[in-house]
């Protein structure tokens, strides 16, 4: 059936190929990807992307329409929690009909586990264009450093 489904010692590679083929068949060439809905919606607002560099961990939370003052970021025991509520839109006019209501509304809470070398005391956050960017610097003492050896040859 699928040329990639040969007996192979790497089961996970096969599964991934099968999944990709399924994605291609379902998504099609012209249909846009539904990736933004693929994750369970109630538990996954805001969507998170996490990246790491030598100096810090950066968390991007895609949270449009939330006032920065309404977002609560707390760090406790190595867990960083992003919580808040996206309130219902207030209408001036009563709408006659609602054709679609796909956007997330209500309270949300997401938790990220911080690595051991995270410096919880220096966490910074800023919000722009609907994206909350959280910067978690790594502790200076945890960074790789070269130790000079003293003594005579």
């Amino acid at each position: 059936m699928y040329p990639s489904m040969r007996a192979s010692s790497d089961l996970f590679a096969n599964l991934e190929q099968f999944q990709d083929r399924l994605d291609e068949l379902l998504a099609g060439r012209s249909a846009p990807s539904s990736s933004i809905r693929a994750v369970g919606r109630a538990s996954a607002f805001p969507f998170l992307n996490v990246g790491t560099s030598a100096d810090a961990l950066e968390i991007y939370a895609f949270a449009p329409g939330v006032a920065p003052a309404e977002i609560e970021i707390t760090v406790e025991k190595g867990l960083l929690t992003i919580a808040g509520e996206r309130s219902k839109r207030s209408n001036e006019e009563k709408p006659v009909a609602t054709y679609a209501q796909e956007r997330f509304r209500g309270p949300f809470r997401r938790v990220v586990t911080l690595p051991d070398d995270a410096d919880a005391g220096r966490v910074e956050a800023n919000y722009g264009n609907g994206v909350l960017r959280i910067l978690v610097p790594k502790r200076e003492s945890a960074k790789a450093r070269r130790i000079a050896v003293s003594g005579q040859a």
Partner: protein
Amino acid sequence: MSQSIEQTSHRPAAALLPPVDIVEDSSGITVFADLPGVEPKDLSVDVDGRTLTIEAPLTLGEAKELMSVYAEVRSNCYRRSFELSSELDTMNIVADWKEGVLTLRIPRAEHAKPRKVEVRTG
């Protein structure tokens, strides 16, 4: 981070579908679209005949050396199209942008608005 996204997928990343709320009142239709991570200057709202297309690239402004560890948003572009009925006035669409939310106000064409017809007596 966008570089590591391109490396991990073997085909071009498909566009994200922004979630929308669409409501209608007596004077027209309002579309609210969630587009976090977009710079307003990159946002494109096009009308071609009766098709309205919202398209925008994502700009997170992350450093080049940032390595992606976990990504729930794996595309670098939003795109969504809508077919507008003929009673809508596509020449007078008003678009607003705030905190990652695009609000489109599409008024009903004059000829399509409900109106009373006066009856002449005599």
